[in-house]
């Protein structure tokens, strides 16, 4: 019965919905009106991206944030934007959603639809007084506008566990006689982990799935509440851009210096870093690197509960499913087109995943999604997040130990410590004012070198595995932000 039902669910979901987006472009930067009395000014730019969509349920968006540096300073700061949405002017046909801490704005389609969003002006109100600045007219300031494609994961209940046989998978404990019933998350209310009827539970065969106990507090992001998830893993160009905004001591701790290893292409010196293949997913990112990027961009780490929500959505679980909701997988073993050009596509053309050393390192972000692809073809999650199975590994906040469970979902404030670490005290790895470790973090989703057993959504073999340095060629990052 269960198998038949899963088959029905798979067939229905396999043909259901469209999500997409890529090729975001920001151009034509200008400074607008400046009010020296109230200490605000406008930053205007043009923005566009391809394959945008919006439905009643979910949409893509650009997370746009602004960095600035007065001429003569070497310290890029995070511009605090107005927290009132109507203070910003969205591009024609779009809407701008401000956030309560002023870290940026989400720009998304103004109404339901899909297709390319044409190049159009946006204008963001920067309350530079909130940054402690007192600029004068005529002063020269470096401005940098950044846009990251995100996917809105709507509020709602969802299942943890696929009903399959993954190591350490979540399930709903009954009487000990079964280990596969999926557990439904019904709210953001606290719940406990344990071996009593109705509780969330998991095995720990690997020794790294967790302590099988504990309370998941109200504050811990469980995936029920809406959040935005980066559509792609951090690309090498994206990380290089980040490195170029750091001071020398910060750069020293965040630069992997792994150019040439396992398709990593970031090289250079402080403030002069380049990625020769900027569109490729970035590897050699340790937990501290990812946290630093998230903090700098006003984002936060993703919890492992949010990971399963982003993958499975509200759909019924399919035993041992991959991020695209079924167990159909085709390995990428090469490229069509010029590898590294940004326009290369996978070989074979039907590939939807890179794993088991099909290629010895990461490939272009979003490479499996094509103009006519379905969810399974694109290797996309229910909501359209790309490469959540394999590519580079997903780093998550675990519920498998007390350090992870202490996470409260705070967002980065745009700044790093003087030596380049995130400073959020609730983030895994925090110690003495900085995120310098990885205690409380873990791994999900597998990577380009893993066999398929590690790629499944509910595989938790290394959900609490603590690893810091040296950086690995399989390690990537993806940030999220609680929806405004």
């Amino acid at each position: 019965m269960k198998n038949k039902f899963c088959l029905i669910a798979f067939l229905v979901f396999a043909v259901c919905h469209e999500v997409s987006a890529n090729n975001i472009t920001v151009t034509n930067l200008n400074m607008g009106t400046m009010n020296t009395s109230d200490k605000y000014m406008y930053v205007s730019f043009q923005i566009k991206w391809d394959n945008s969509w919006r439905t009643d349920e979910n949409w893509d968006a650009a997370w746009v944030f602004v960095k600035f540096k007065p001429e003569g300073s070497n310290n890029w700061q995070h511009a605090i934007l107005s927290t009132v949405s109507s203070d910003h002017i969205a591009p024609t046909g779009s809407t701008a959603d401000a956030v309560s801490d002023g870290m940026g704005v989400f720009i998304r389609r103004g109404s339901n639809g899909n297709g390319n969003l044409p190049l159009a002006y946006a204008k963001l109100k920067w309350n530079y007084g909130a940054n402690g600045c007192n600029f004068a007219r005529g002063q020269k300031v470096y401005i940098s506008v950044h846009a990251i494609e995100m996917v809105y994961i709507p509020e709602g209940s969802f299942y943890l566990g696929s009903t399959g046989a993954e190591q350490g998978h979540f399930y709903r404990y009954t009487d000990g006689s079964q280990h596969t019933n999926a557990y439904m998350v019904l709210s953001e209310d606290a719940f406990s982990v344990g071996s009593s009827s109705g509780k969330l539970y998991y095995a720990n065969e690997s020794g790294s799935s967790g302590d099988q106990t504990g309370v998941i507090s109200n504050a811990f992001p469980k995936g029920y509440k809406a959040f935005y998830c980066m559509k792609y893993e951090i690309s090498q160009g994206q990380y290089a851009d980040f490195l170029n905004k750091l001071t020398g001591p910060q750069w020293t701790n965040r630069f992997a210096n792994a150019n040439g290893s396992e398709r990593h292409t970031i090289s250079g010196s402080c403030t002069n870093v380049t990625a020769s293949v900027p569109e490729r997913a970035c590897n050699y990112l340790c937990w501290m690197d990812g946290c630093a990027y998230a903090a700098w961009a006003g984002l936060r780490p993703m919890t492992e509960l949010e990971y399963e929500k982003a993958c499975r959505g509200p759909a019924l679980p399919v035993a041992n499913e991959y991020a695209w909701g079924n167990i159909i997988i085709t390995q990428q073993v090469g490229h069509v087109g010029i590898d590294g050009s940004g326009t290369e596509t996978p070989s074979p053309a039907t590939a939807n995943c890179l794993y088991n050393n099909g290629i010895q390192g990461p490939v272009r972000c979003g490479i499996f999604a094509r103009p006519t692809s379905l969810r399974s073809d694109a290797g996309a999650t229910y909501y359209g997040v790309m490469e959540m199975s394999a590519s580079v590994i997903e780093r998550i906040v675990t519920i498998g130990n007390s350090k992870g469970r202490g996470f409260q979902g705070t967002h980065g404030n745009g700044q790093l410590s003087s030596d380049g670490y995130a400073t959020n005290s609730d983030w895994p790895g925090y110690s003495s004012g900085k995120v310098t470790g990885a205690d409380g973090a873990g791994y999900r989703g597998g990577c380009w070198s893993h066999p398929i057993i590690y790629l499944t959504v509910s595989q938790r073999q290394s959900a609490t595995y603590i690893y810091t340095l040296p950086r690995g060629g399989v390690d990537g990052w993806r940030g999220v932000r609680t929806a405004p």
């Binding site: 019965m1 269960k2 259901c16 919905h17 469209e18 999500v19 997409s20 987006a21 890529n22 090729n23 975001i24 472009t25 920001v26 930067l29 200008n30 400074m31 607008g32 400046m34 406008y42 205007s44 730019f45 043009q46 394959n51 969509w53 439905t55 349920e57 979910n58 001429e71 159009a120 002006y121 204008k123 600029f135 004068a136 002063q139 300031v141 470096y142 401005i143 940098s144 506008v145 950044h146 990251i148 209940s157 439904m184 559509k231 690309s235 959505g313 509200p314 019924l316 326009t343 272009r364 979003g366 094509r370 103009p371 692809s373 379905l374 073809d377 694109a378 229910y382 359209g384 790309m386």
Partner: protein, 295 residues
């Protein structure tokens, strides 16, 4: 009581904890879950997971002089379009400290960003930042295609064209094509066809009945763009003559076309004699279509 997903899930869990047999509970839980899914999980869209080239990140940096007088003007749309005039709207997104003079260029062809290539220029004078810009253009041709683009310049020497040229169509009176007829005519149903071939948009109402001077039925189809229109009607009487007309109106005028059609003759008509004839006859009896041959 409205059954929210949480409520249904709660029911599901309650059942799971009940004293029913384990197998039955499992089956019912799956059934409940499926009901929840059917009722509350809408597909995101009917299309596929599209994608393309490059990744999902970009940035731009630059050294800018604060308060130096940038200038941005936008097209924001066309309103109140009729057959002979329209209002062009725009916005002065940013003029900073310098006074900005705004113009709108328009005509029957796209002059892009070359003012000499535009047929008409309207000087809107000095405008304020964030000001909604509106101007009416007149003497347009009915059913014509027009283009426009805003332009601004300021005393600091900056100039700005709107991102792109916009186009629009003017209204013309609605016109229904000749030659449309009823199709799929049955004993009590028919499909009434029409074809709106002009008018940009029109509010269309369908009338039908047995008296073309006193319509028994109406159906307001709302605002339609030019194209074929088909409406299936029912509850007609067999073997009768009917009329219908599509009637369209817009700001420019009105039009309608009246069409006549006859429904099929009923084979169940009665008469003064019995059904005995010298040749073999066929009768269909009852709703199940029982066929009887009578000699």
């Amino acid at each position: 009581m409205k059954q929210t997903p949480e409520r249904l899930v709660s029911i599901c869990h309650s059942f799971a904890n009940s004293s029913a047999s384990r197998r039955l509970r499992s089956v019912m839980c799956v059934l409940f879950a499926f009901i929840i899914w059917l009722k509350f999980v809408e597909p995101i869209t009917a299309q596929s997971y599209y994608g393309g080239d490059y990744d999902g990140y970009d940035s731009i940096s630059g050294k800018l002089i604060l308060g130096s007088g940038s200038l941005i003007v936008l097209n924001t749309g066309v309103t109140n379009v009729t057959d002979k005039d329209a209002w062009l709207t725009g916005m002065l997104l940013d003029s900073e400290t310098s006074n900005a003079n705004v113009y709108v260029y328009w005509g029957g062809s796209d002059g892009d960003t070359n003012s000499d290539d535009w047929m008409h220029e309207i000087d809107l004078g000095v405008c304020d930042e964030d000001q909604i810009l509106m101007t009416q253009i007149t003497n347009l041709n009915s059913g014509g295609t027009y283009f426009y683009r805003f332009y601004a310049t300021n005393s600091a020497g900056y100039e700005s064209w709107a991102d792109y040229t916009e186009s629009f169509l003017t209204y013309s009176p609605p016109v229904f094509a000749e030659g449309s007829n009823a199709t799929e005519i049955g004993y009590s149903t028919a499909t009434l066809n029409g074809n709106l071939i002009s008018g940009l948009t029109a509010n269309v109402v369908l009338y039908w009945g047995s008296d073309a001077n006193n319509w028994a039925n109406t159906n307001n189809l709302g605002t339609l763009s030019p194209g074929a229109i088909s409406t299936k009607v029912s509850d007609l009487n067999a073997g009768c003559l009917y009329y219908y007309k599509y009637y369209g109106t817009n700001v420019c005028g009105e039009d309608s076309k009246t069409v006549a059609f006859a429904t099929k003759e009923s084979i169940f008509k009665g008469g003064s004699r019995d059904g005995c004839v010298s040749k073999e006859s066929l009768l269909v009896v009852g709703s199940r279509g029982l066929i009887i041959f009578i000699r």
